[in-house]
Symmetry: D2
Amino acid sequence: MQIGFIGLGRMGTGMALSLLRGGHDVIVYNRTDSKAEALAEKGARVAYDVAGACKGDVVVTMLSNDEALKEVTLGDRGILGSLQRTAIHISSSTIGLDLSERLAAEHSARGQGYIAAPVLGRPDRAAEGELFVVAAGSPDAIAQAQPIFDAIGQQTLVVGNEAPKANLAKLSINFLIATVFESLGEAIALIDRGGLDKHQFLDLLTTTLFGAPIYKTYGALVAADEPPAVGFAAALGFKDIRLALSASEKLGVSMPFADVLRDRFVELLATEGEEQDWSAVGRMAFRDTRQRAGAE
Amino acid sequence: MQIGFIGLGRMGTGMALSLLRGGHDVIVYNRTDSKAEALAEKGARVAYDVAGACKGDVVVTMLSNDEALKEVTLGDRGILGSLQRTAIHISSSTIGLDLSERLAAEHSARGQGYIAAPVLGRPDRAAEGELFVVAAGSPDAIAQAQPIFDAIGQQTLVVGNEAPKANLAKLSINFLIATVFESLGEAIALIDRGGLDKHQFLDLLTTTLFGAPIYKTYGALVAADEPPAVGFAAALGFKDIRLALSASEKLGVSMPFADVLRDRFVELLATEGEEQDWSAVGRMAFRDTRQRAGAE
Amino acid sequence: MQIGFIGLGRMGTGMALSLLRGGHDVIVYNRTDSKAEALAEKGARVAYDVAGACKGDVVVTMLSNDEALKEVTLGDRGILGSLQRTAIHISSSTIGLDLSERLAAEHSARGQGYIAAPVLGRPDRAAEGELFVVAAGSPDAIAQAQPIFDAIGQQTLVVGNEAPKANLAKLSINFLIATVFESLGEAIALIDRGGLDKHQFLDLLTTTLFGAPIYKTYGALVAADEPPAVGFAAALGFKDIRLALSASEKLGVSMPFADVLRDRFVELLATEGEEQDWSAVGRMAFRDTRQRAGAE
Amino acid sequence: MQIGFIGLGRMGTGMALSLLRGGHDVIVYNRTDSKAEALAEKGARVAYDVAGACKGDVVVTMLSNDEALKEVTLGDRGILGSLQRTAIHISSSTIGLDLSERLAAEHSARGQGYIAAPVLGRPDRAAEGELFVVAAGSPDAIAQAQPIFDAIGQQTLVVGNEAPKANLAKLSINFLIATVFESLGEAIALIDRGGLDKHQFLDLLTTTLFGAPIYKTYGALVAADEPPAVGFAAALGFKDIRLALSASEKLGVSMPFADVLRDRFVELLATEGEEQDWSAVGRMAFRDTRQRAGAE
């Protein structure tokens, strides 16, 4: 299969590697050339503009936000104008419902396919082809795209025929992950101020009711003595919470936990800067506790 | 071992059964006689007042709130006045830090032992001796009480020498459980209004990052079409959130998620009555959604 | 002075009437012709497109949101392209900081003036020329526009040279008004459920510390037995809270009260529909109380 | 009239002074003698225990919280046991509904009168006899107590026959005042970060819709560059918010604004200590802003 791939951030690079390993003919494009060249060494061909990545059967986009995807898709010499009739645009970016709806409509008007296929998993899992793919789009298009999903993921979950449904599922999951940060942050603040050992408390959790990867992996990050390395950037996590809030407004659902997260992200970014893993939002709950502990 | 057992609600009854099955000599007391008599058929002796249950080496209390425990412990002919020097009071109730501190001090002043040993697990697990016991108290007392913990639980986790630490751990865990209700409630409200299948969404969660009992068991309860049967009563869950908030005030920790839960419980109890499982608090997030769905 | 006026909603119509009464030569334009014609009877000339309202020294826009203002300003044959060099665009709409910044830049690039001049007061006050004008822009432009402000307002408050500052002031004030709805709503819910007379309570407030128009006018609306007539639409109030939240994200300020208001508006619009005065958001606090009272 | 007066904090001292100036025979009691002696110089007689202040027709209590009032009323040689049949206890403290209900019942059982009569106004107003008195109790008792209310207040507002109603009104008012702190805090944070002058913004508010003492007096305190002097202590304000939350739980009313205030007070007391005016809670909204401004 000939696949264009646009957006070579950490996740995108991992996904493109998995496609190459799966034997596909991959033409990559990235605004910054150096990232594309690194993939060329692994067998990718390099396109020097968006249109150059739109010549095959499928183009996959993995961009950081709505604006970047809009530019690449709707702009001059963008995907919409460059993709062949009957070819498919697979959008794996975490974007809002409105943009997904709009792209579905515009591609459809040109006889092109459009699948929203956001993914679950961190960059290392992407490079191993072990992501979970949450897909929505026309059954035909999804059937055609299956080899791609098989290359990047361990499992594909189809959640409907309309693309925005996959985006909503992804936003809901990222919201749920972020609630775990805050929940743990508040609990650990109590535990810590109360004189218990926070690491022992996390063990207690994960050996009983809370034995899921989400509590094991992120519990350690939230409780760490030093801020953890950036896996998924706080600014992106904040964007996802804002998109979830927009979805909540569109759908008429009040979300007080999402509101709390919004405020935590605002404070995190304003006081501790951009260079943060998004789990740091859970650390805000005991920021004062940490400061006091430092002062005591 | 001769063990008094006071408080035969659903959890208490299950724990007393496990003690009997463990071969202990158990003298039970409950304000309502009928519950004690049911246990007599399983081999328990029945005491007709609190003092009557305080003659052995240990008395275990499993009561629904601070007031009930205060009455039984501090009242006329209560545990404090009835228990022998060197005997131990094991309090398994979920109570506040202040009361636990006070009981530790009062028992200590009389040469009696005091262990806070709240438990994790639902009533059926109690009856099977499969609880998790979270204990705090003097190492000697805990060593002495170990056979009891072994009879009721699959594991004992000692979190410190001062009894209130076990209570704080338990309150923090119940807070964390309740946050899962609200998180799921908000996410399911989005999913449902957005036209996705909520059960499929829960499957997606629990086969990926959220594969813990807490999401499996409670996800189904929150998403159920009908309110679930009462496992742990909403009024008790509300009490625990209030105790967590009190602890947060004492320890100087702000807890916005706990605040949201407080309000949800207030609304749940005011609008849907007392006969609710505490997971119903997560259903408040899509109460309006449910009402609208009903009207549409 | 020759003044174009675009946007003849309730507020716009009132402002245009005040300009006519002030002796100005007013050319009005509205997407729906009928509203313009009603003003023609009062002496206005009618333009049949945006450009037709841009021939004078000044054009005033009073539109309901960012999108409407963008269309009128940036669209084909919009204000930017139609206004003479040295003429001034006075934007009285309540809009976001980003759009205001963009318009300031674009007008400046063409040698046109741009003033953000949102107003305080309800439509009847607009028609009486009794608004408060909150203005920001270059001192020269503001001096030139003063006769207009004098016609529509009782007072002009200049808050800076950069237009977005006036928009921020306006958003902050609308946020503050909305907080009064929620504060009163919660207090009245308590008062009412506690068996006190809510009207007597409001009297108590407004004769003591809370003797401001905001508590007198809106207290009555929040406490009313029937939903009040629409003065300022809930959908517009919601838009303003969302703009305040966007500003808070841009400026790095967490705003938990604004979050609560966001959720209340989401619930209000989802459960009681669009036809609501924005003060109805305060009535959500005792929605359950009202329902229970109805059922009792 | 012979009046006992118990509780000589800032407010109590002011009230006692007004009673003396009104020509009443006042016997004061305070746990700390020095405060009583200062009043002796103004004509008060001094009692050396609670019972000594209970010999007249009326005893007024003005204590800082439920515990202090309980001790003085229910304790050995307390008011309940010392007051004559037909004499009246006027409780001006801001206390919770449950205690007020209990005191009403206990006094009534002994044939004694009980009026809840919390007051509005700061200490200087108390000393000038310019408070607002919010009273509830039996009409007979209130008629009898009127000369006292006339001495301390400019106006008496009777809100019902059952004492707790006056306490609920007072808690609701203190809640409303505290919401103004937070509302102003969030708005000022926006204004300040947005580069506007916060004092000019406050002027704008108070000359338009927000022209009430509450915004004039407290706006200045919230916006001040230095923390203001303690008028009403933050710890007392926090207590009142907690009592309002308790009332909300009892009455089945959710209060998200009160929750936000709870958290702000928790943070204020934990990070900036006890020596704070309660308006400082509004300053927490721009604490980070202040810190960043300091760092810039």
